[in-house]
Symmetry: C2
Subunit: 409 residues, 2 copies
């Protein structure tokens, strides 16, 4: 079945607010087996809205709209749907009393304009919205469905998950759709695509290859008449992929490198310390994005100067001989971080963030060092020389190496 | 004049890639005095593409498309425009030789499929793209304009700035549009909006108030028949705003807090060191996002444990008495950071990142400490208790305090 998305709001057309609702809903539709035909972003003008609904209604079985359900004059989604279907809006006494109760609970009187949010048309049912004053609309007519949800992402996503997704599932043919993402690092998109060749040939699941900041993601979507069949299709494809990409796959679905590393450190009762120069604190910040990371992360040093590095125990002559951007420095920094903070593992990054070269070395050149109490090793990386990208890639590289080390123990 | 945007690519409809091109272009159009009618996101299917171009062509004077200019079979933007206008595509020998030269420079033979990228129709001129193999198309017919640009944001933005924007300016009526953004911190969106009241009343420039991660932005857009008149309108409004928001405005236009702080540190020949707990390195990382920050940033400590704090010179009894999340600890951490790294100014953050309370203190409670060689002071912040938000807000708060301190010296 075909679906269309309409994102409503003049603010979305001023470039000041990025429309994240459309991509959220777009990512959900494959799970329902729905084929997205188009996304339209339209301003709060009744003519533009009716036109957009007409077009989407014509080319889709299901139209999903967000925004324009507020209480003010320029919130016109309800009006546009009523006009499209040639129906009259009337205030629902049930919705009105719900709305008044919601304001009363906040200790406020309901402003008169909010009465709009209690309006319905004969083909529409209200969809509850515990997070805001705007109920959604579920509209069924001539074997088609229109769903209108509020624009604030928190309200919309809750409504989608708790209300809209289950209703759509119940309406749609009994097909089950399962999704699985495998996350890789260390090969190019083209190389991963090539190794995934046999899975492309399977057809079901379908496979998509996407380049992401933390590596290459493989997305499998299986469709079958039942849960078990779909799961078996996914498993067969995943096994095929794991047989050729075993060394590259580091996680699945909502895993992040930092959460995977955190789990492994906790499970193996190991602690971690960092020392970083070109990443400037982003490595430590990424590691501590994980709630509970204080259990295994002992701390970090942002050692921007050689003076700071040597005061923390990196040999000054080693820096003189090899430079601060070198395998040797990366390993010595990792060792020093571990020693200083009495951590089992030290992880270090040194490199040239750019835009200017450093010590005659080019922007984008990075060394990651990893050390435990006995050994140290390092890896060289060369990245596109844009400061923000160098930082992000170097952090990913460091977490990948740490993950490999922990997984192999 | 009216404009429409078309973002092309099936990947944009799978929810795997967020379309940032549309919002980038949308933010640029007011500068040209163009009124954006709609954004459409369409898949790589010829029928959908032609339909989208037809609709946009009908309702707009200028249609701006991104994506679908690659060399593969599913890159169909050129074909769709040709079909819309009923024109034939032919390979331009000039473009072909440019393309072959580009591949030769990379030491590669041109794959045969890339010849598509040298195609034109009679109404189209090629727009140079030094960053990739896909030239853009500039199409003029029946007093309307279609611009097609490549999808990769780096290629698109360069083409927009260097080629498309100047050509559009030359084509459009002589109105000048000037834009000015003032950036504030420390008041709510509603409070800033209220103080900006007199400027709202001016009408020209128009004013928009936007909540952003680094505070509240005020965006002024002035339209006039000449550059000087527009500049005078902006100046009048800016002066009004500065008279009521003097203490809150920290920068304009493309300024970031970290770049402003960097400029002031450089100008005043001062150096900086950091010590942070709950922000986990994000403060140092943000400071070092600025190229050249190594000139004033001496380094930072991510002191996640009390042990590390005391080893760096924070008094253990002070932590015992007041807790690690306290004004006293924040000030002592700032002093210790400055002392350890012989920096003129120490900046520190301590707080509860969440989701769990710490020392009986709630998630979202943060103290920022600032110290020079003589004095220390601190500020308390309470933020929505989501880990990522707490980190981001605490870093902003720390940079605002540092900015105030530096600006007052």
């Amino acid at each position: 079945m075909k679906a269309g998305i309409i994102s409503i709001g003049t603010e979305l057309l001023l470039g000041e607010v990025v429309d994240t609702n459309a991509s959220y809903i777009a990512s959900q539709l494959p799970l329902l087996g729905l084929d997205l035909q188009s996304v339209m972003v339209v301003p709060d003008r009744i003519r533009s809205l009716v036109e957009a609904f007409e077009q989407a209604w014509q080319r889709s079985d299901i139209v999903i709209a967000t925004g324009g359900l507020g209480p003010t004059q320029d919130d016109l989604t309800r009006e546009a749907i009523a006009q499209l279907l040639g129906e009259q809006m009337t205030v629902s006494t049930n919705l009105e009393s719900d709305l008044r109760a919601m304001f009363a609970a906040m200790g406020r009187n309901m402003p008169p304009t909010n009465i709009k949010q209690a309006a319905l048309i004969p083909s529409a049912q209200a969809i509850p919205n515990p997070r805001g004053t705007a109920p959604g609309w579920w509209v069924e007519k001539r074997a088609k469905i229109i769903v209108a949800m509020p624009g604030p992402p928190g309200e919309m996503q809750r409504m989608w998950e708790a209300e809209v997704m289950p209703r759509l599932r119940a309406k749609l043919p009994g097909e089950v759709v399962l999704l699985r993402t495998l996350k890789c690092f260390g090969l190019s998109e083209a190389e991963v695509g090539e190794k995934a060749g046999p899975v492309f040939a399977m057809g079901n699941p379908t496979i998509g290859v996407y380049a992401k900041p933390d590596g290459i993601h493989l997305r499998l979507i299986a469709r079958a008449s039942g849960q078990e069949k779909a799961a078996a299709l996914i498993l067969a494809a995943e096994n095929k992929l794991r047989s050729t990409l075993a060394d590259q796959i580091w996680g699945t679905d909502s895993d992040t490198l930092e959460s995977m590393v955190g789990k492994l450190l906790s499970a193996k009762h190991l602690t971690l310390a960092t020392m970083e120069s070109c990443t400037g604190g982003l490595l430590a910040s990424t590691i501590t994005d994980v709630p509970g990371s204080s259990a295994y992360f002992k701390g970090g040093f942002v050692a921007y100067t050689n003076e700071m590095k040597t005061s923390l125990g990196v040999n000054a002559r080693l820096i003189e001989r090899h430079g601060a951007v070198s395998r040797e420095a990366a390993e010595a920094m990792a060792q020093a971080a571990g020693r200083q903070l009495k951590a089992d593992i030290g992880l270090a990054v040194t490199g040239v963030g750019g835009p200017d070269p450093l010590e005659g070395k080019p922007p984008g050149l990075v060394y990651v060092g990893l050390a435990d109490r006995e050994n140290a090793r390092s890896v060289e990386g060369r990245y596109p020389p844009r400061r923000a990208d160098v930082k992000r890639r170097a952090v990913t590289q460091a977490l990948v190496i740490l993950h490999q080390e922990l997984a192999s123990r």
